[in-house]
C-alpha cells in the first residue's frame, strides 16, 4: 500500500479528516472511513449515479473521484439533506409521489435532482429527464421520479414543505426509524 495521505473535508457541515490510501475513492471514504452509508455503489463505470454527492455545491459521481481530490472541499451527502426532523423538499417529493421502490438509487437520484433544481428551479419534464439521465433506476420506470422532482420544485418555489397528507404519524415514524438506523 502506498503511503497514506491526510484528507480533510467538510461533510454535511462537519469537519472530518483521515489518513487514507491515495487511491481511495471518495465513495469508499464516505462509506467505509466515515460510515456514511447512504451513498451507494451500483456500477464500476460511472454510469448508474447511485454514488452521486455534492462537491463544493455541484453534483459529482463519488466513484469517479479520489478522496484526495476532495481534500479541502465541502461535501454534502444524502444524510445532510434533512434539517433535523424536516425533510428536504426532494425527500418529501420522493415519499409523496412514490418515487422509490427498492430505494437503492434514491440517494443518488435525490442529490442529482437537488443540483438540477439549484440550476433550474422550474424544470420541464424533458429537462428533468435529461437532467437525471446519469442516474439509473431499475424499479420505478422514472415516471414517479419525474413527479417527485416536480413536487419538490413546487415546494421549493413556495418555500414550504407541508405535512404529509395521508398520515401525520408518518413523519414521527421516519424520525424514530432513522434514529434507530432501522432499515425498511
Amino acid at each position: 500500500m502506498a503511503d497514506a495521505v491526510r484528507v480533510s473535508v467538510t461533510v454535511n457541515g462537519q469537519p472530518r479528516a483521515a489518513e487514507v490510501e491515495p487511491r481511495l475513492l471518495l465513495v469508499h471514504f464516505l462509506r467505509d472511513t466515515l460510515g456514511l452509508t447512504g451513498t451507494h455503489v451500483g456500477c464500476d463505470t460511472s454510469n448508474c449515479g447511485a454514488c452521486t454527492v455534492h462537491l463544493d455545491g455541484v453534483s459529482v459521481k463519488s466513484c469517479t473521484i479520489l478522496a484526495v481530490q476532495a481534500d479541502g472541499a465541502e461535501v454534502r451527502t444524502i444524510e445532510g439533506m434533512a434539517k433535523g426532523t424536516d425533510l428536504h423538499p426532494l425527500q418529501e417529493g420522493f415519499w409523496a409521489e412514490h418515487g422509490l421502490q427498492c430505494g437503492y438509487c434514491t440517494p443518488g437520484m435525490i442529490m442529482a435532482a437537488a443540483d438540477l433544481l439549484e440550476r433550474n428551479p422550474d424544470p420541464s419534464e424533458d429537462e428533468i429527464r435529461e437532467g437525471l439521465a446519469g442516474n439509473l433506476c431499475r424499479c420505478t420506470g422514472y415516471h414517479n421520479v419525474v413527479k417527485a422532482v416536480q413536487h419538490a420544485a413546487q415546494l421549493q418555489r413556495r418555500g414550504e414543505v407541508p405535512e404529509p397528507e395521508v398520515s401525520k404519524t408518518g413523519q414521527e415514524t421516519a424520525q424514530e426509524l432513522a434514529a434507530k438506523g432501522v432499515g425498511a
Binding site: M1, E21, R23, R31, D32, T37, G38, T39, H40, V41, G42, C43, D44, T45, N47, C48, T77, I78, M81, A82, L87, Q91, F94, W95, H98, L100, Q101, C102, G103, Y104, C105, T106, P107, I128, R129, E130, A133, G134, N135, L136, C137, R138, C139, T140, G141, Y142, H143, N144, S167, T169, G170, T173, A174, Q175, L177, A178, G181, V182, G183, A184
Partner: protein, 786 residues
C-alpha cells in the same frame, strides 16, 4: 378452500393510495443494505474469474497473492469440501433434465466467462482485489459452443461427460398438428427473444459469520428461507443452526432468486477461517456471474379460419440455458407454456421446449420469467395474422377473446383461468387512445406506429398440488406463511415469509391487517427477510407475495379477530357472532357505545385475571399457512406509440397507455409503480438491452457502458388505468402485478415498430430494435417510403 374471510374488512385503508411505510429511512440515506453492514473483524473476499468461455485449468499459482500483506487465504475448487453442489430445484416426473456438476468454485474446467476459479480472502477490500490479480491461472482452451441451435446439431460439447448439449425436452398441450391441418390459414415466424440481465442497481452482496457452530448469513436475496435450506444441505449443517437475513435489498427482478455459489462459499470460508467474511459484487461481476434471462429462439405456427377464428398455436422453443442448470433455469420456459393460449379461445395449443447448454452464463428467472417471451410470441402472431387476413388487429382480438361469462375457463393446455374481462380492459384502453388520431400526429420525416398487446399471465405461485414434486416437479411446496402478533399495548407485528425488496409490501400488508383489526396502518409493523423471525416462507418472486403471502396474512389476522371476538363477547356478556368491528372498536351489534379497542382486548389477553373464556389460552397471536387452490391470472391491454427516424433507425416511444386488471387493488400507488417499472424493463429489452457474446463466448456487454439500461431520458411518462375483476381464488380478490408490465410491453412496442415500418415494406422484425437493426431492415426494403 374456505372463503370465510370475505367482507369482514373495515375498508378504510385497503384501496387507498397510502404513502409507503418503507420510505422514511430510504429517502434519508438510512437504509440497511448488506454492504452497509460492517462486522468487527470482518475479512473481505474477491474472486478470480475465468476470462475463457471453455477451458481446462492446468495450474493455479497463488503464491504471489498469498505473499501479500493482509491476505488470509486463497482457496480453489479442490480446496472446498461441500456435501453437494449448487441445486436444480426442478425434477419433472418422467423427464430427464441434465444437471451437470456445479460447484461454487470450478474444480477442473471453466464453462463460461466469469466462472469463479478462486477466492482471495484478506483484511482490506482493495488489497484482496490486488491479490486476486496476482493469482496466476493457466488455461488450456477447449472448443466453445455459443449458438444454441447449432449446439443441438452435434459437434462440440459444453459437457462432454453428458454426451449431448441438450438439457431436456418438455411439452405442454394437445394435438396441434390436426388443428393446424384444419386451419384455412397458417402462418409461421421465427422469433429470437434475446438474452437480458436483471440488473438491479444493487449488485449482490453477502456476509457470512460462522461462530461456535452457528452460522449467520446476510445476503441480498429474494429467498432467504431457500438459502438457509441449501446452506444447511451443502455445508452439512442443520437449519436450526443457520440464520439468513435479507435486509434492505436493492432490487432483484428474479436475478436474486437463485442459490449462488458465492453465498455458499462465503459461509464455508467463514467456517474455515473463524471470522466473518464479506463480498460485494461489482457491476462487471454482476454482468458475467449473476444469471441472465430470456434467450430463446422460437418457431411459432398459428392457424386460423379465413373469418379470423383462431384454431391452433404451436410454439417450438429452443431455450439457451447457458453452461449450467441453475436453480429453476430449465423450468422457466415452461412458465411461458402455461400462458401460451393468451387471452384467446383455441382448438389446440402446444409448446415444445428444448433446453440447450452453451458456454455462457446460466439463464433463469428474470422479471416475468417465460411469460414475457410467450406473450411476445402470441401478441405479435395475432398482429401478423391480422395483416395476413386483412382484418383489423383489435377486431381480431375481440373476436377471439375468451368471453367474461366463460370464467373460470379451462384452457387447452390444462390450466384454469380464474377470472377475466378482456373486452373490458381493451374497451377502457380505447377510451384513452384513438389509433387513427395517433396516426394523424405523425411528425414530418418520421414514421409513426401504434402497437397493442392484450395479455394475461400466471401468478400467485403456487398451488402445491399443481407445482409439487409429483406434478410439475418443483421440489418444494410454494405456500406462504404469516404470523400476526398483537402486543399488549395494541401495536401489531406481522411476520411474513415473503421477502420484499422494493415492492412496498410492508405498506400493503399493513393496510390489510389494519382494516381487519381496527387500527392505523402505522401501528402495524411488517417484518420480513429474517429466517430467525416468524414462520418459514418461500420468498418473493412470480408476483406471488400479495396473492399468496397477503392471503396468509389475511387468514392469520382473521384468526386473531376471531379470538378477539370471543374475548370481547365474554367480557361484554354477548355472543361472539354478535361482535363486530365498528369505528375501531369491537362492539356488540346494535350497541356501538359498548366496545373495546384492540389495545383493550390485548390487555385482557395478556393479563387475563379470569377474563378469558374457559380453556382459552392467553395471548393474542396467530399463524397461518396458505397454499392456494389455483393460480391467479391478471390481465390487461397496453398500447405503445412509437416514432421511427428512417434516417437513423432510432425508435422513440412517445406514448404508452396501460390498462391492467390485477383484481382488488390494495394500494393503487404500488400497482402503478409496478406497471411503470415493469413496462420500462420490457421497453429496455425491446429497444436497448442485450447481453451479447461473440462466437468465442466472450461477453461483449460486461458493464453499464455497453449494457444499455434505459435512463429517464429514453422513456416517456405513462398513462395507466384499471378495471377490477376480483380473483375468486383468495379472499382478498387479488391477483398480482409485479410482472404484468414486463409481460405486456415488449410485444406492444415491437408491434408498434412493425406498424410504423409496414408502409416501408418491413412486416416483421426481431428485438432488440436498435437503430442499426431498424435502419438495416429499412435499407433491405429500399429505404423509407417517400
Amino acid at each position: 378452500m374456505t372463503q370465510a374471510h370475505n367482507g369482514k374488512a373495515d375498508g378504510r385503508h385497503v384501496g387507498q393510495r397510502m404513502r409507503r411505510k418503507e420510505d422514511p429511512p430510504l429517502i434519508q440515506g438510512r437504509g440497511n443494505y448488506v454492504d452497509d453492514i460492517a462486522l468487527p473483524g470482518s475479512l473481505h473476499a474477491a474472486f478470480v474469474r475465468s476470462p475463457e468461455a471453455h477451458a481446462r485449468i492446468t495450474s493455479i499459482d497463488a503464491s504471489a497473492a498469498l505473499a501479500r500483506d493482509g491476505v488470509d487465504g486463497v482457496f480453489t475448487g479442490n480446496d472446498v469440501d461441500l456435501e453437494s453442489g449448487l441445486p436444480l430445484a426442478w425434477v419433472p416426473p418422467g423427464i430427464e433434465v441434465q444437471a451437470p456438476e456445479h460447484w461454487p468454485l470450478v474444480k477442473e474446467v471453466v464453462k463460461h466467462v466469469g466462472d469463479p476459479v478462486a477466492v482471495v480472502i484478506g483484511t482490506d477490500k482493495y488489497a484482496v482485489v490486488d491479490a486476486a490479480e496476482d493469482v496466476i491461472v493457466d488455461y488450456d482452451p477447449l472448443p466453445v459452443v455459443t449458438d444454441p441451435e447449432a449446439a443441438l446439431e452435434g459437434g462440440d460439447l459444453v459437457h462432454p461427460d453428458i454426451g449431448t448439449n441438450k438439457v431436456h425436452e418438455w411439452s405442454l398441450g394437445g394435438d396441434v398438428e390436426s388443428a393446424l391441418a384444419a386451419s384455412e390459414v397458417v402462418i409461421e415466424r421465427r422469433f429470437v427473444n434475446h438474452r437480458i440481465a436483471g440488473a438491479p442497481i444493487e449488485p449482490r452482496a453477502v456476509i457470512a459469520d460462522y461462530r461456535a457452530g452457528d452460522l449467520t448469513v446476510w445476503s441480498s436475496t429474494q429467498i432467504p428461507n431457500f438459502l438457509r435450506l441449501f446452506l444447511a444441505i451443502q455445508l452439512g449443517m442443520t437449519e436450526d443452526r443457520i440464520r439468513v437475513i435479507a435486509p434492505d435489498v436493492g432490487g432483484g427482478f428474479g436475478s436474486k432468486l437463485q442459490i449462488y455459489g458465492e453465498e455458499i462459499l462465503l459461509a464455508w470460508c467463514s467456517r474455515k477461517l473463524g471470522r466473518p467474511v464479506k463480498w460485494v459484487e461489482t457491476r462487471s461481476e454482476n454482468m458475467m456471474a449473476s444469471h441472465h434471462g430470456r434467450d430463446q429462439v422460437a418457431y411459432v405456427k398459428m392457424g386460423a379460419a379465413r373469418d379470423g377464428t383462431f384454431k391452433a398455436l404451436h410454439v417450438r422453443i429452443i431455450a439457451d440455458l447457458g453452461a449450467y442448470s441453475l436453480f429453476l433455469g430449465p423450468l422457466i420456459p415452461s412458465l411461458g407454456a402455461f400462458v401460451m393460449p393468451g387471452c384467446y379461445r383455441w382448438d389446440a395449443v402446444r409448446t415444445d421446449i428444448t433446453g440447450v447448454f452453451t458456454n455462457k452464463t446460466g439463464t433463469d428467472a428474470i422479471r416475468g420469467a417465460g411469460r414475457p417471451e410467450a406473450t411476445h410470441y402470441i401478441e405479435i402472431m395475432v398482429d401478423q395474422m391480422a395483416a395476413e387476413l386483412g382484418i383489423d388487429r383489435l377486431e381480431l382480438r375481440r373476436k377471439n377473446f375468451i368471453p367474461k361469462e366463460e370464467f373460470p375457463y379451462d384452457t387447452p393446455v390444462g390450466m384454469t383461468y380464474d377470472s377475466g374481462d378482456y373486452q373490458g380492459t381493451l374497451a377502457k384502453l380505447l377510451e384513452h387512445i384513438d389509433p387513427e388520431q395517433e396516426r394523424g400526429r405523425t411528425a414530418e420525416g418520421k414514421l409513426r406506429g401504434i402497437g397493442f398487446s392484450t395479455w394475461t399471465e400466471i401468478c400467485g405461485l403456487a398451488p402445491s398440488r399443481a407445482t409439487g414434486p409429483s406434478t410439475l416437479g418443483v421440489q418444494a411446496g410454494l405456500w406462504e406463511s404469516a404470523l400476526v402478533r398483537v402486543q399488549v399495548t395494541g401495536s401489531v407485528t406481522v411476520y411474513t415469509g415473503t421477502s420484499p425488496h422494493g415492492q412496498g409490501l410492508e405498506t400493503s400488508f399493513a393496510q390489510i391487517v389494519a382494516d381487519r383489526l381496527g387500527v392505523d396502518p402505522q401501528q402495524v409493523r411488517v417484518m420480513h427477510g429474517d429466517t430467525s423471525q416468524g414462520p418459514q416462507g418461500l420468498g418473493t418472486y412470480g408476483s406471488r407475495s400479495l396473492a399468496v403471502g397477503g392471503e396468509a396474512i389475511a387468514r392469520a389476522t382473521e384468526k386473531v379477530v376471531e379470538k378477539a371476538h370471543a374475548i370481547v363477547a365474554h367480557k361484554l356478556e354477548a355472543a361472539p357472532e354478535d361482535i363486530e368491528l365498528r369505528e375501531g372498536k369491537f362492539s356488540v351489534k346494535g350497541s356501538p357505545d359498548k366496545g373495546m379497542t384492540l389495545a383493550e382486548v390485548a390487555g385482557l389477553a395478556y393479563i387475563p385475571e379470569g377474563n378469558l373464556p374457559d380453556a382459552m389460552e392467553a395471548g393474542l397471536e396467530e399463524t397461518a399457512f396458505y397454499d392456494p387452490d389455483n393460480f391467479t391470472w391478471p390481465f390487461g391491454a397496453h398500447a405503445a406509440v412509437v416514432e421511427v427516424d428512417p434516417e437513423t433507425g432510432k425508435v422513440d416511444v412517445v406514448r404508452y397507455v396501460a390498462v391492467d386488471d390485477c383484481g382488488t387493488p390494495i394500494n393503487p400507488n404500488l400497482i402503478d409503480g409496478q406497471i411503470h417499472g415493469g413496462v420500462v424493463h420490457a421497453i429496455g429489452q425491446a429497444l436497448f438491452e442485450q447481453v451479447a457474446y461473440d462466437e468465442d463466448g466472450q461477453l461483449l456487454t460486461g458493464s453499464f457502458v455497453s449494457y444499455a439500461l434505459p435512463s429517464a431520458a429514453e422513456v416517456p411518462s405513462f398513462e395507466t388505468a384499471r378495471t377490477v375483476t376480483p380473483s375468486p381464488v383468495n379472499s382478498l380478490g387479488v391477483k398480482g402485478i409485479g410482472e404484468g408490465g414486463t409481460i405486456a410491453a415488449s410485444a406492444a412496442v415491437t408491434n408498434a415498430v412493425i406498424d410504423a415500418l409496414r408502409p416501408a415494406g418491413v412486416d416483421f422484425i426481431n428485438m432488440p430494435l436498435t437503430p442499426m437493426r431498424v435502419w438495416e431492415a429499412l435499407q433491405e426494403k429500399g429505404g423509407a417510403p417517400a
